[in-house]
């Protein structure tokens, strides 16, 4: 027994040492190439940030903090030239919030079905379908939105919502189909795959003993899901929602095609509006030098928000994994 252990120890030492000491020229080349690729990525991120900062420089110098309080976007054709980000930040927050409001309950329903309710033979194919939905290009969602969703929203959904909730100012005005509400709906559809796939993972990570604990005190299937599964997986759900938020905030193409593109702070969801991403996409081709700089500053803001959201989501998701290790 001891001899065997000595042999494996020696073998382990040898194979361990190979990476460092007795490396062949091929190994060295391979290692440096892959290291270069990895560090190149870091460099790229740093460069992108730097370029954005440099590009935004003139705008930052000219407008300073008033860029974040101004609601006017005046290109040189209508002097004085002044740029403010408020309507776009507002539009981004409202559409993303609406997407979460509509998308999260549906996603959780899907995830619960996939992990708790669906018969085993249905789980795998359905999971693939959900993942497939995430692979549909954004512009295709946009096309579908323009030709299918927007008319339906205009003719059926929005009038129906209005007939019930029309007394609320956020549902006032004439439904046009290509508006903030439709943009929120398309975003909700687009974030459903992300949120439901990750929530499903979080539910599957809930130990079976937790479900048994709830069943043993007389909980029904739904009560077990609520008590043992949803509560146990709550930080995982939060991580999934924040990742979805990240996608909703930075999504460009489909929103640009559906939101109606109007630079204003809208009061009703049936108004047309703008997000940071859609405004950049719509304006960079014809922008003058200072306007370009202002657009780049918008881009910088969007990137910072998206990075922040992703980091926070990761924090939540790793905490889930750590909690699991402790209780397992």
């Amino acid at each position: 027994m001891r001899a065997l252990r000595a042999v494996t120890a020696r073998r382990r030492a040898r194979s361990h040492g190979r990476a460092h000491a007795g490396a062949t020229p091929g190994d060295v080349l391979f290692q440096s190439l892959s290291a270069a690729a990895a560090f190149g990525l870091l460099l790229l991120l740093a460069l992108v940030t730097l370029i954005l900062l440099l590009g935004a420089g003139p705008s930052i110098q000219t407008f300073g903090f008033s860029f974040f309080t101004g609601a006017v976007w005046n290109p040189p054709a209508h002097p004085p030239e002044v740029y403010g980000a408020v309507p776009f930040v507002y539009g981004t927050l409202v559409t993303a919030g609406l997407a979460l409001l509509l998308g999260v309950p549906v996603s959780l329903g899907i995830a619960i079905f996939l992990s708790e309710l669906a018969p085993p033979w249905l789980r795998v194919p359905l999971t693939y379908v959900i993942e497939l939905l995430a692979a549909i290009p954004s512009v295709v969602f946009g096309l579908w939105g323009v030709f299918v969703l927007a008319p339906v929203m205009r003719d059926s959904v929005e009038p129906a919502v209005q007939s019930v909730f029309g007394f609320l100012p956020i549902f006032s005005g004439t439904p046009v189909g290509t508006d903030v509400f439709t943009a929120g709906v398309i975003l909700a559809i687009m974030i459903i795959p992300t949120i439901s796939a990750i929530s499903r993972e979080a539910f599957l990570a809930v130990p079976q003993t937790q479900r048994e604990a709830a069943l043993a005190i007389g909980a029904t299937h739904w009560e077990t899901t609520r008590m043992a599964v949803l509560t146990y997986a709550r930080s995982g759900i939060l991580g999934a929602v924040i990742l979805g938020l990240g996608r909703a905030v930075s999504e460009t193409m489909a929103v640009t095609m559906l939101i109606g593109n109007r630079n204003a702070i809208f009061g009703s969801l049936f108004d047309q509006g703008q997000t940071i991403a859609s405004w950049i996409a719509n304006n960079f081709t014809e922008a003058g030098p200072l306007e370009t700089s202002a657009l780049i500053e918008l881009g910088l803001v969007l990137m910072l928000v998206a990075v922040l959201v992703t980091v926070v989501a990761r924090l939540f998701l790793t905490r889930v994994l750590r909690v699991l290790e402790v209780t397992e």
Binding site: T209, E212, A213, I217, G218, A219, M227, T327
Partner: protein
């Protein structure tokens, strides 16, 4: 013998694998019945059939009858059965996001009890019955996970007792605990039989000898011998039983 539960020709499957075969035995009221046997003999499956916990896994199947007070539990709603037949599991499994108090109150709230005074009273009584009250009375608002392993298991016993079951099933409740915590649970089991009918699965024969009035010995899914604990250990009728309790296999 005053029979509380009874299995009649009970068989259970996982997929095509038969885990227990044709088990017929009586469970005496206000007594402790132990089920012993080597790993894989079906003792956990048997106890999980007694509160319809076997069927929650996919592709499982049960045949035969399990009577509780003379009525087949497989003809009653599973949720109702599990409120009359509580269960404590191998590894302590408190709800990690809940406080000690909420863990014990969880089953009561499911049963529709909302009155804070009644909840308080029953939570405290259950914690006392599980001999945990003295250790947690200053901090029932703390997380259940802040307790030691043995305390967590007694918390799970309190949670099971709170819904006032008639029978308490324990599936190797001490296998994850140290000897001191085990001794506490064993004392507790001895006290519990005044108010409850207890069935305990254990791989520890000494434990069965210490706590049980009746012992069932299972091997390869079959009930080999069932009798008074003392008789079974001192004068086993079956050769297999004798071999097992004298440590010659298992």
């Amino acid at each position: 013998m005053n029979v509380k539960m009874q299995t009649q020709h009970l068989s259970a499957w996982y997929g095509s694998k038969k885990a227990i075969e044709d088990v017929t035995m009586d469970i005496e009221e206000h007594a402790v019945t132990a089920i012993i046997g080597p790993s894989g003999c079906g003792k956990s499956t048997l106890i999980r059939c007694l509160d319809r916990m076997h069927e929650i896994l996919p592709k499982t199947r049960v045949e035969g009858k399990v009577l509780l007070d003379g009525e087949d539990i497989y003809e009653q709603p599973a949720v109702a059965v599990r409120r009359k037949v509580g269960m404590v599991f191998q590894k302590p499994n408190p709800f990690p996001t809940m406080t000690i108090y909420d863990n014990v109150a969880a089953g009561l709230k499911l049963g529709g009890i909302r009155d804070p005074d009644e909840l308080d009273g029953r939570v405290i009584r259950s914690l006392k019955q599980a001999v945990l009250w003295d250790e947690v009375q200053d901090g029932t608002g703390k997380s259940g996970m802040s307790l030691s392993g043995g305390q967590q298991q007694r918390l799970c016993i309190a949670r099971a007792l709170a819904v006032e079951p008639e029978v308490l099933l324990m599936d190797e409740p001490c296998s994850a605990l140290d000897p001191i915590a085990t001794a506490k649970i064993e004392d507790l089991i001895f006290d519990l039989k005044k108010d409850y009918t207890v069935v305990i699965v254990t791989h520890n024969m000494q434990q069965a000898a210490r706590v049980a009035d009746w012992t069932a010995f299972m091997y390869l899914g079959k009930l080999i011998e069932f009798g008074r604990t003392r008789e079974l250990f001192e004068h086993p009728r079956e050769e297999l039983t004798e071999k097992y309790i004298t440590g010659r296999f298992g």
